[in-house]
Every structure is written in structure tokens, then in C-alpha cells.
């Protein structure tokens, strides 16, 4: 019976990327059953298209591109959910409202990670980001892919990747800062001496962001 055909080297290598595929898929779909379906479809498509894979290139990046395209084709015919924040870049010091000691309080110096209270919130905070930002952040910060690879996967220029990462990370940090406040990890806002008016309104609150988004039908 044909079922006894042994798995190919291609298949074996592809399966080593299962955790990465499921991690990205889970954040993209935000549903564990859809995430599993998406990974399965991705691997089947990859298997059928394996002659298009350039041996020696990054298979994980290639698989993640198939996964992203499959997700867009199935759920988002018009491309990834857009951000209404596109426009001129915000002030680069827009997170200046967080002072050095506040930032320090959010970290755990031992583990070189965030305080465990914040770590628990991080997936939720990530899931609240618009898709374009969320995918860019996951591909960069979790999968540690290069800007070039992320641009290939998302089908956009490198500059767009950088802008999505920048905005996504800023929103994420703002959210984590809000959590840190609510846990009492950090005190009320402190100033680091950047009091001019242009920096009073630097960061978009996620709740108001979502309202705006609904209003424009995005």
C-alpha cells in the first residue's frame, strides 16, 4: 500500500518548524482550532509546492510565507486588516512619557525579561494589535527573521516593515505600561523633562484606536 512510503527529507525538515508555524498561526488567527487548520493547510501546500523551494534557503521563512498567504486568501481577501494609523510617523520620542525608572520597574533584572506579571499579559496585549502590526512583531521578535525576510512574507517594502514594527511595538509597550500601572508596579506618570506640547499626545490609546477603526469601517 502506498501509505508505507517513507517521509521525505523535505517533510522531516518541514516538521521541525511545526512549533514556529503554530505559534505564528495562533497569533494570526487568535483561535487554536483555526490555527491548527491553517498550519495543516500550510504544510500540505508546501508539500505540493516543494519543488519551488530553493534548497539552502530559509525553509521556516518560506513556510511562514505560505502560511501568511493562505491566511489572507482564506480570511482576508482584501489583504491583512489595515491600520488607520498610517500616515506621517509619530514623534520618535513619543514614548518619552515613560521615564527611565518606570521602564526599569517593568523589567526583571534577573531574567532579563519583563516582570512575570507583565509577561502573563503579553499575549493578550499582542492580540489586541492590528493584524499588520501583530504579524510584523511576531515575525521579528518571536521568529527573529530579518526585515528582508519579513518584507517577502508580508509582500511589502522593507520601509513598511520597519514602520509596522515601530508602531506595533509602541502600542504594545503602551499596553504593557497600562498593565504595570494597574498592578502598581510603577507609580503615576513621571516626567523626564520632555514637557513640550507636541509630546503630550504621542501614543494612541488602544481603546480609542479601536473606536476610530470601527468608525472608518476598517
Amino acid at each position: 500500500m502506498a501509505h508505507s512510503l517513507p517521509p521525505s527529507d523535505f517533510e522531516r525538515e518541514a516538521l521541525t518548524h511545526l512549533p514556529a508555524l503554530l505559534a505564528v498561526s495562533s497569533r494570526l488567527t487568535r483561535s487554536s482550532s483555526e490555527a491548527e487548520d491553517l498550519v495543516q493547510d500550510t504544510l500540505l501546500k508546501a508539500l505540493r509546492a516543494r519543488e519551488h523551494f530553493a534548497t539552502g534557503s530559509n525553509m521556516r521563512a518560506w513556510l511562514l510565507r505560505i502560511l501568511t498567504n493562505t491566511f489572507i486568501n482564506r480570511y482576508r481577501r482584501g489583504g491583512l486588516e489595515r491600520s488607520v494609523l498610517d500616515g506621517p510617523d509619530a514623534d520618535p520620542l513619543a514614548d518619552g512619557w515613560i521615564g527611565a525608572s518606570t521602564m526599569e520597574a517593568m523589567r526583571d533584572p534577573e531574567s532579563r525579561a519583563l516582570r512575570s506579571l507583565l509577561e502573563r499579559e503579553i499575549v493578550g496585549a499582542l492580540d489586541e494589535l492590528p493584524e499588520e502590526f501583530r504579524l510584523a512583531v511576531v515575525l521579528s521578535d518571536v521568529e527573529e527573521l530579518s526585515y528582508r525576510e519579513i518584507a517577502d512574507i508580508m509582500g511589502c517594502p522593507i520601509g513598511t516593515v520597519m514602520s509596522r514594527l515601530y508602531r506595533g511595538r509602541k502600542l504594545l509597550k503602551r499596553r504593557l505600561y497600562e498593565h504595570a500601572r494597574s498592578y502598581g508596579l510603577v507609580g503615576p506618570e513621571e516626567s523626564v523633562g520632555q514637557g513640550d506640547a507636541s509630546e503630550k499626545n504621542p501614543v494612541v490609546e488602544l481603546s480609542s484606536y479601536r473606536k476610530t477603526k470601527k468608525a472608518v469601517g476598517g
Binding site: 500500500m1 503554530l22 495543516q40 493547510d41 508539500l47 527611565a100 521602564m103 519583563l114 520632555q194
Partner: protein, 285 residues
């Protein structure tokens, strides 16, 4: 501070390791003298460490999932093997290609017609009994559309030996399925008949007939069932481009399209695109 302003936008890129060496050296020099920017970099790195840990931990593949993936890749391998062999046969036999059939089917509107599906009265006394029993039994646990699609895909992938090879004998399945099972005229279009069977759904009185074909190297499984009790369209999306509603979707890498006619449901599972699958099921009307 204006000094920081020049560097702040670079810090992310610096942590990403994507700055040019010259710029990276400039940032290093700034960090050596600026505590706030150093803290920004530290927080950036801490956030990434936490993101990596948390995102991976939130989605660890279960053993069941690993097995499911391995099984579907195994089935795909087996399918490819069968296709390779079949293509060799088809080349000798000169069947119509699927690419030719689709435009023809679309143009003709309804070329793939069933012989007799105008009434859903099951034939024979046994059938009536089964259908009555099915209707009478208050179903305590209704199968979710998800479970039914799973079952359909399972069977599509691993069909086993068909119970019925002779198309005329398909009527024998009527009692178990509770709706008339007739042979669709796919054979004229290069589809090779492979046999029919009953797919037992894990719920009393709920079965579907499966009719298997090979179409230009693609396996096509057509399911016939009582559409009142197998509401799979709830899990699929409606395509409005046909005269009758056709519902399409994916399950585990296979396209599924379904339609309904006078209480009889028809679903097709294939590895064709969703459009081709929808076209195929739409042509049953």
C-alpha cells in the same frame, strides 16, 4: 534631549541588528553616555525575551496535533503516488482534462445531472422504517458541522474498500442514508467511478452516502445525505455567484463545497481549488 531625539528612532533597528555598522557604532557611543536610551534598549530587549517565551508557550503543538499533521502528510504522499500512476494511465487513455471540463460545465449550466433526485421518498419498506426512526429519535447530541466535515475529510483521505461498485446498485444505500442515492453523470467527462459506500456518522440514524471518482488525477468524493440533519453549510461560506446557494470552505487542506436540493444535501470534498469545487457542486443543480 535633542541628542536623544536623533537616536530614539534608531534604537529598535539597533536592537534588531539591522543598523549599518557605522550607525551602530554611533548608537553605542550614545548609549555609553545616556541612561534613558540605555533603559529604552533594555526594556526593548526584555519585551522581546518575554514575547518569545510567551508566544511559544501559548501554542505548543499537542501530540494529537502532531499525529494529525503526520497523517495528513502521509495521505498526501499516498495520493501523489496514486496520481503519478494514474497520469500514466490517463495519458494512454486520453481522457478529457479537468481544465477542459470546467468551462464546459459552466457553459452548459447543468451538465452533471443526477438521474432522478426529484423526490426524496426513500424506496422500500426498510428505508421508510429507518427514515421514520431517524425523524422520531430526539437527537440528544447533535453533531457539530465541524465534526461532520472532519468525518467527510477523514473518509476522503482514507476511503477504504467501497461497498458498491455497480452504479445501479447504489439504491441499496437509500435505507441507510434516508434519502435517494443516485449516480451522477460524471463519467462522460473523464471522471472515473471508483465505488460507493456509506459513511457512518457517530450519531444514531445519521449516515451519508459517499460516491468516489477520480477526475484528471484528483480524487473527488461526493457525499449525499439528509440536509436537514447534517447542517454543514453553517461552517461554510455562501458563494452567491450561482443560481442556487452553494457553500464552500476548507477543512484540513481540502476544499469542501455543499449544496442542497429538496432536502437532499450534496457535498464534494476535493483537493481542487475552492472555485473548482464550488463549480462542481453547483453543476449538480
Amino acid at each position: 534631549m535633542s541628542h536623544c531625539r536623533a537616536f530614539a528612532a534608531l534604537l529598535d533597528v539597533y536592537v534588531d541588528g539591522e543598523l549599518s555598522p557605522e550607525k551602530a557604532i554611533e548608537v553605542d557611543a550614545h548609549l555609553a553616555e545616556c541612561g534613558v536610551c540605555t533603559e529604552r534598549v533594555e526594556l526593548e530587549q526584555a519585551t522581546r525575551v518575554s514575547l518569545r517565551t510567551a508566544v511559544r508557550a501559548a501554542a505548543v503543538p499537542s501530540d494529537a496535533f502532531r499525529e494529525r499533521i503526520a497523517a495528513s502528510l502521509r495521505a498526501e504522499r499516498a495520493r501523489e503516488h496514486a496520481v503519478t500512476q494514474q497520469e500514466a494511465t490517463a495519458r494512454r487513455g486520453g481522457m478529457l482534462s479537468w481544465g477542459t471540463i470546467l468551462p464546459m460545465a459552466a457553459a452548459a449550466g447543468a451538465v452533471l445531472t443526477f438521474n432522478a433526485v426529484t423526490d426524496k421518498t426513500p424506496s422500500g419498506p426498510v428505508a421508510t422504517a429507518t427514515a421514520t426512526e431517524a425523524r422520531a429519535s430526539v437527537t440528544p447530541d447533535v453533531l457539530s458541522p465541524e465534526q461532520i466535515l472532519d468525518q467527510f475529510v477523514d473518509y476522503h483521505v482514507n476511503p477504504g474498500t467501497p461497498a458498491i461498485m455497480e452504479p445501479k446498485l447504489l439504491r441499496q444505500l437509500d435505507p441507510e442514508v434516508g434519502v435517494p442515492v443516485r449516480f451522477p453523470e460524471l463519467a462522460n467527462y473523464g471522471a472515473r467511478w471508483e465505488g460507493g459506500d456509506v459513511v457512518r456518522l457517530p450519531l444514531r440514524g445519521l449516515n451519508a452516502a459517499s460516491l468516489r471518482f477520480q477526475l484528471d488525477g484528483h480524487r473527488v468524493t461526493l457525499y449525499v445525505y439528509n440536509s436537514e440533519r447534517v447542517p454543514i453549510q453553517r461552517r461554510l461560506r455562501e458563494r452567491s455567484s450561482y443560481r442556487e446557494p452553494v457553500y464552500v470552505g476548507y477543512k484540513r487542506g481540502y476544499s469542501i463545497a455543499a449544496t442542497e436540493r429538496r432536502g437532499v444535501g450534496y457535498a464534494v470534498a476535493t483537493d481542487l481549488s475552492d472555485l473548482e469545487t464550488a463549480e462542481l457542486v453547483a453543476s449538480l443543480h
